[in-house]
Amino acid sequence: MKARIAVLMGGRSLERSISLKSGKRIARALVERDYEVIELDVDETLVPTLMSEKPDLVYIALHGKGGEDGTVQELLEILGIPYTGPGPLPSIIGFNKVLSKELFIAHGIPTPRYFTISSSTLEEMGASSLLPVAWAKLGSPLVVKPAAQGSALGVQIVRELDDLAGALIEALGYDERVLLEEHISGTEIAVSVIGGSEPEVLPAVEVVPESGFFDFDARYTPGKTEYFVPARLDEATAEKASRLALEAHRLLRCKDLSRVDMIVRDGQPLVLELNISPGMTETSLLPLAAEAAGMHFADLVERLVKLALSEAG
């Protein structure tokens, strides 16, 4: 008898639509592999539903706040239901770019230099006077991003100091804390790691946005982005990227799964962030990487399910 799996998707996060795509695709794959599947669009009835449905496992296909930041993971710990992907701690850290970057720095994992600024420091401590200082220290252009938000929502490249305050306003729409990060021009790659005691590093996927900046438009407008898998890196660099991804994965104790986004400058990968619930749509990076490693989508999904079930017990 195969397990009963509840696939959590949708929710109220700003990445709802991507999550619905990921979730439905995962549910189809599980049905194909003869699992009993319950699809749940997460709302205020989630906990009572899980308590009455008593699934053997929860597959977390949520992206963004609520699903990727430790919230739903904590709740599943209380309920005692096993779930796919990393636990609360890596989720909390991975979703918060400030926490994860600080950890990377503390452990010698290269990451672009940055400062943070929050709406309360702006409102209560006059932090706007700091903007020219940060600008001078980080150099231009610089990248403004919300500390906790996925899908590059609110992320902008700022080329003129005069545009910085406006960019902050936009980023602060997504989170009350914002990163000002040194802009690195180089090759953007994503390296996925699938866990177990001997985690496997999948081939790097390279992202080439036509505009040079992988923002929301580049993602959703046909013809604006190309990708290469495996990434066009020399062997030594590819090896370095794999090693770094694995290091970051282990450092945050991601156990089953993570996708580490990096940028490679002059043969040196720098880690931008780590995702614990990467997209699983038809054209998302993790499934592409898995495919390149000879793993079909349903294999990938089933592998993550088995990992979670075996850890549970």
Binding site: R12, L153, E170
Partner: protein
């Protein structure tokens, strides 16, 4: 820069026209508004809770009695004669004396916009729209590749003098058409004055200009005196678009175009390639619904509901929105248009609002010229009075918080 990507392996296959279509962050964010815990003023959803099931049942039975075979078969591309006659009856209520043979049934009036764009616009042709304008019209026109000129609205609708000046200064081949929504404008909420309507018709005559008059809301007047549609003048310069979406239901997808014979013929020829015909089942439902008089009953039931909701929203805006904001007071239709202090950007503010469980549509979506950053469209037809009060209260808080932030960054001097 977290590549959470929608990569598209078919990129090389897409047409140039498809590149003219716009996708946006806003559209993605709006997927959240379908959730019950978000009070949405974002959609253009009419209230359909007032369609009594027994009436619908009556109409359905009548359709089945009339002819299952017809209902489930292909139909005429032009649309069913019976329905066209009923729609002529509806137009007569607004003062239009139409010939049913000059009526083309479409799958919602949205299809009429699409077909019109395709029979009239070549890439690079000029067209004129209002600012703001109906966002679905922009979506329909854009893939044809027009150069779009915007004439900004005021409280009396389209300032015809501004249009005239734009025509005086026009360079190159004359514009293919002027697109207007004279009644209870979506999104602006304003209505074109009778004087301006008369002047616009004169101008169309003088300059040999085609006017596309979109009138989805004309019959939804809950206050003030009716204004005659442009098409009532019988001018050969007007193509009129009507729809049952707001007076019966958007789900039956029945709209129509009425205008000069040659243009209607062209529309029919193109529609053949687009979808052969609009659903005969839905057409039969519509004609029976109208014939049996339910549409008027529904319309009369809607008016006091919409009036009461509009009033609730006006009261809430007065109470909760900061100084320096202004809004329109529509006498019908579904929308109030809000203008906030100049320096604010409603698109940047949208995620904050959604996090506070309230949604609206940012102003820029309704302009072809990139303006409208400090404006927003609020729908008052869908949420009830209590939800409107609560939602506007939340939105007021979001705006005040945003103003504080602009202030602390020294950006509130605009």
């Amino acid at each position: 820069m977290s590549p959470e990507i929608i990569f598209d392996p078919y990129t090389k296959l897409y047409s140039e026209a498809s590149a003219l279509m716009k996708s946006s962050v806003v559209r993605d964010l709006m997927s959240v508004i379908g959730r019950t815990d978000v009070i949405s003023f974002g959609g253009g959803l009419p209230f359909t809770g007032g369609l009594p099931p027994e009436d619908i049942n009556d109409v359905m039975c009548s359709v089945m009695d009339k002819g299952m075979a017809e209902a489930f078969q292909y139909g005429e591309t032009e649309g069913r004669d019976e329905l066209r006659r009923e729609l002529v009856g509806i137009m007569r209520q607004e003062g239009i004396d139409a010939d049913p043979d000059h009526v083309q049934i479409t799958t919602g009036s949205q299809q009429a916009l699409d077909l019109l764009a395709r029979i009239l616009i070549d890439s690079g042709d000029g067209i004129i729209v209002e600012g703001p304008t109906y966002l679905g019209a922009l979506a329909a026109f854009r893939p044809a590749g027009p150069r779009i000129t915007t004439i900004h609205l005021d409280t009396e609708g389209l300032p015809v003098d501004d249009l005239e000046r734009a025509l005086d200064d026009w360079e190159g081949p004359p514009p293919k058409f002027v697109y207007v929504v004279p009644n209870f404008h979506n999104p602006a909420g304003v209505t074109m004055s009778a004087e301006r309507r008369a002047r616009l018709l004169e101008l169309a005559e003088e300059r040999d200009l085609l006017i596309v008059e979109d009138n989805p809301y004309g019959l939804l007047r809950f206050e003030g005196e009716p204004a005659e549609p442009l098409a009532a003048a019988g001018s050969r310069h007007v193509v009129y678009l009507g729809t049952l979406s707001k007076i019966v239901s958007p789900g039956i997808r029945i709209g129509w175009a009425y205008g000069p014979g040659p243009i209607i013929d062209k529309l029919a020829t193109l529609k053949q390639g687009a979808d052969l015909c609009s659903s005969p089942l839905n057409q039969m439902f519509a004609e029976e619904y109208i014939r049996l008089g339910y549409w008027q009953k529904n319309l009369e039931a809607l008016k006091p509901i919409y009036l009461s909701r509009r009033n609730a929203m006006l009261r809430a805006l007065e109470k909760n929105f900061p100084e320096g904001s202004r809004w329109t007071t529509p006498q019908g239709g579904l929308f109030i248009w809000v203008t906030l202090p100049e320096f604010l950007d409603t698109e940047k503010m949208l995620p904050l609002a959604i996090n506070q469980k309230v949604a609206y549509v940012p102003g820029t979506a309704f302009y072809a010229d990139g303006t409208g950053a400090n404006q927003m469209r609020l729908n008052f037809s869908y949420a009830d009075e209590d939800l409107i009060a609560e939602g506007i209260k939340r939105l007021g808080k979001v705006i005040r918080k945003e103003i504080e932030l602009y202030h602390s960054l020294g950006l509130d001097k605009g």
